[in-house]
């Protein structure tokens, strides 16, 4: 079988390949910088048991869904207390609960999000914790 | 058929690139607005809708007006509209494109526009407006495209297109009725709280839209070999005349109710628009220009002997279109917000950026229109002399 205009097709394919994989090339240098969210905040140090609101695996995978639910509970249903699977109570609040413990937003939330290239838009309204410029 | 839009004279391309440049300028300014917020417009806490929503309202009328050709042709078997009915349908496509774009540039949080679908709210008129506008866009694209491509092949359009055409008739009325309901159901905005709002909207639509169509048909005839015909243009002229008379009559009714009842809330917006209120009168010259142009156009249109001369008809259509544009695309929206709920006055005037964004959207609409008309005209030139029944 003869490939008509084979040269053009192959050039096209190469360009296509580069375009598609471009994001990965961009990340080449960063692959090693895998995220290590730090939990060394004053508030967490004070905890007897270093536990989040729910089990770590759940938090890691589902915190966005949890936050979405939280804001509907608080803003739409007027429910402001969250009781976790161990019957422990937390006030439903992004700024006053999550960020109270995770007051190192840059070294915690941003660490992962930058790696994943997600940029939650929450902080255009919710006030991020005060941190030293790093 | 799309390829027909890709070949054309130098003049054609100059025009297309001119429009593209305008779209580009509008887009750059829109990016600036996107980043810095609607504060770059002239809108304020008191006048919270302005040029964008005015243009939207006006263009819904232009879109709805296609029905003024569809009804005579398909319901009354008025064969002479055979050639131009498609111009009306494609004008509707371009106009709805502009409507949707104007709504979009007016949103404070455009990224969240899908919330309207994710959280459907049938008690909101805006929800219904979204449905009817998108439906109308779809109907006109399908109808226009199918009839034109059948014409090109010299065959009858498929049978399933007929029900869609009949559906498009009430649909056209619905888009403008629903748009009027955006305004007419708001308590405390006396200027808009009027039962004849929808009727007024339709009357002005059936005057303004067909007037634009006459101008477009004349331009098409001048620039191309496709002649929409003298008679159809005269017939549309008659429609424009009657609709404009109805429109002015309805406006008169509003004046009567406001001033004979002497209810201050009803009078104030009219006073503001036509005479100025408490020393504020930015819109007065515009509104008077609109009124004078309306009278001029009516004089030229009402006498058949004048109307029959195409030059005069064209002048009348320009006057009428500008008059209605000022009245509906500007005065109607701004007037509703002045005075504000505290009887205070905060005036509105669009900023340069806002105007450039609005011009960009118009250019986008005209680009869509140009491409669609280019295709139509090319097909018509190819099939000149062959009449196909739809």
């Amino acid at each position: 079988m003869k490939l008509y205009g084979g040269g053009k097709i192959i050039t096209g394919l190469i360009i296509f390949f580069f375009l598609v994989t471009f994001p990965f090339f961009l990340n080449i240098g960063k692959v090693n910088a895998k995220p290590e969210p730090k939990i060394d905040t004053p508030e967490i140090q004070k905890l007897a048991e270093k536990k989040c609101i729910e089990p770590k695996a759940f938090m890691r995978a589902e915190h966005m869904k949890l936050l979405n639910d939280w804001r509907d509970f608080a803003v739409r249903n007027g429910q402001r207390l969250y009781v976790n699977s161990e019957e422990k109570q937390f006030t439903i609040s992004l700024q006053n609960t999550c960020m109270h413990c995770h007051s190192n937003k840059k070294k915690f939330c941003d660490e992962c999000h930058n790696y994943m290239a997600v940029k939650p838009y929450c902080w255009s309204c919710h006030i991020a914790p005060k941190e030293k410029e790093s | 058929m799309l390829e027909k839009a890709l070949t054309g004279s130098r003049r054609y391309w100059t025009w297309v690139f001119f429009l593209l440049a305008m779209v580009g300028v509008g887009f750059v300014n829109y990016l600036y607005q996107f980043k810095n917020g609607l504060g770059i417009t002239g809108m304020s806490r008191d006048v919270s809708w302005g040029l964008y929503i005015g243009q939207f309202t006006f263009l819904v009328g232009v879109a709805a007006s296609a029905v003024m050709l569809v009804i005579p042709y398909y319901l009354h078997d008025f064969k002479k509209f055979g050639k131009i009915v498609i111009l009306g349908e494609f004008l509707a496509v371009a106009a709805v494109t502009m409507c949707i774009s104007f709504i979009f540039v007016d949103l404070g949080q455009p990224m969240r526009v899908l919330n309207v679908i994710l959280h459907p709210t049938p008690n909101s008129i805006l929800f219904w407006d979204m449905i009817v506008l998108n439906g109308y866009l779809f109907l006109n694209i399908v109808i226009g495209w199918m009839t034109l491509s059948s014409d090109r092949k010299g065959i009858k359009p498929p049978a399933w297109i007929k029900p869609l055409i009949y559906l498009s008739i009430p649909w056209a009325f619905s888009i403008h009725t629903v748009t009027a309901f955006l305004y007419a159901g708001l308590p405390g905005r006396h200027f808009w709280l009027s039962a004849i709002m929808a009727a007024r909207f339709l009357a002005s639509a059936f005057a303004g839209g067909p007037a634009l169509l006459i101008l477009l048909a004349l331009i098409v005839r001048k620039l191309t070999k496709f002649d929409p015909g003298k008679e159809p243009i005269q017939a549309v002229g008659k429609i424009v005349t009657y609709a404009m008379i109805a429109n002015v009559f309805f406006l008169g009714l509003e004046f009567f109710t406001a001033f004979y009842s002497q209810i201050p809330g009803h009078m104030h917006p009219f006073v503001y628009l036509y005479a100025g209120l408490e020393g504020h009168g930015k819109l007065v010259p515009l509104m008077w220009a609109s009124s004078i142009l309306a009278v001029v156009s009516l004089v030229l249109l009402i006498f058949p002997s004048l109307r029959r001369q195409e030059g005069i008809l064209a002048a009348a259509c320009v006057a009428l279109f500008v008059s209605l544009w000022i009245d509906k695309g500007f005065g109607l929206v701004v007037g509703g917000f002045i005075p504000n709920p505290f009887e205070g006055i905060m005036e509105y005037w669009p900023t340069t950026r806002e105007t450039l964004i609005a011009l960009g959207v118009w250019a986008l609409g005209f680009l869509v229109l140009t491409l669609l008309y280019k295709i139509t005209v090319t097909v018509r030139e190819e099939t000149a002399g062959i009449e196909i029944e739809h």
Binding site: I127 | Q109, R189
Partner: protein
């Protein structure tokens, strides 16, 4: 690619899938291991069938009495002050009798009332036109009568502003953080961002914790300090024993534009002494 990245993508993918299902509140959480998690309202929370407010203008004497209310509200809610009427954002403010009650004009009204500032805020209408027109339910009426704003859902169409006959709503024409001083921010409450509408919420976040609205508290504190009665009362309109109902049954009160049928929940005591 390292293993870690792949793990991440898996987690991310799974969570988006989960996110798609279960629109209702706790579905995703209840899915598996978190059977027991649930939400409650605080026991301390203040509840009502229909929250309402009575404002007794005769109790306000000095300029300071009004400023205090606005300051209390605007500072805890991070309401910016742009200093111009075009971009202005306000939740609670004052205006003259003539502007507050434009449907009851009276040239010859008593001087004291003519020049007295009236406190204005969202009326939390029982039949709110803003809720009727909102295309996304971003503004909605809660079970306790509060007309609430969900900033997360607002698309900024400003239909609610056209619909509100009381001018209670403000739009963020500019980034509010431009007009907020970092030091003065209340770090426990969010700001807003460009392109959303905002207004008074009857301090729903304080009610949830058992506190009365900030303006009411400010007027109570001022009254205590000066040894008088406060100018603002807050309570359940549905409860005949509530403070607001007691005043409504003993004093002559009026509401703004009642003829429009929105049924406002904010009442004004204009003048005169107790007649009961």
């Amino acid at each position: 690619m390292s293993m870690n990245r792949r793990q991440f993508l898996k987690i991310a993918g799974a969570s988006t899938l989960l996110g798609l299902g279960g629109a209702s509140a706790l579905n995703a959480l209840r899915g598996g291991e978190l059977e027991a998690s649930h939400v409650l309202t605080d026991e301390k929370a203040l509840n009502a069938k229909r929250w309402a407010m009575v404002i007794d203008v005769s109790k306000f004497r000095t300029e300071e009495d009004y400023k205090r209310l606005t300051k209390a509200c605007h500072s805890i809610h991070n309401v910016p002050d742009f200093g111009n009427p075009k971009d202005e954002i306000k939740w609670i403010w004052t205006d003259t009798y003539e502007h507050t009650f434009p449907s009851q004009p009276n040239e010859y009204i008593e001087e004291g009332i003519k020049n007295k500032p009236f406190v204005l805020l969202c009326n939390h209408c029982a039949n709110p036109p803003c809720v009727r027109v909102c295309p996304t339910k971003a503004t909605f009426k809660r079970k306790d009568g509060i007309v609430m704003m969900d900033q997360h859902r607002c698309i900024g169409c400003r239909f609610c502003m056209a619909a509100c006959p009381f001018g209670a709503r403000s739009f963020n024409y500019k980034d509010p953080r431009l007009a907020l001083k970092k030091e003065e921010e209340n770090r426990e409450y969010p700001t807003r961002t460009i392109g959303v509408v905002e207004k008074c919420t009857f301090c729903f976040e304080r009610l949830a914790k058992g506190l009365v609205p900030a303006c009411v508290e400010a007027s109570r504190e001022a009254a205590k300090a000066a040894g008088g009665e406060p100018g603002m009362y807050f309570g359940d309109l549905d409860d005949p024993a509530s403070e607001v109902r007691k005043i409504l049954s003993t004093r002559y009160t009026i509401r703004r534009k009642p003829e429009l049928g929105t049924d406002p929940s904010v009442f004004y005591v204009i003048g005169g002494e107790k007649n009961a």
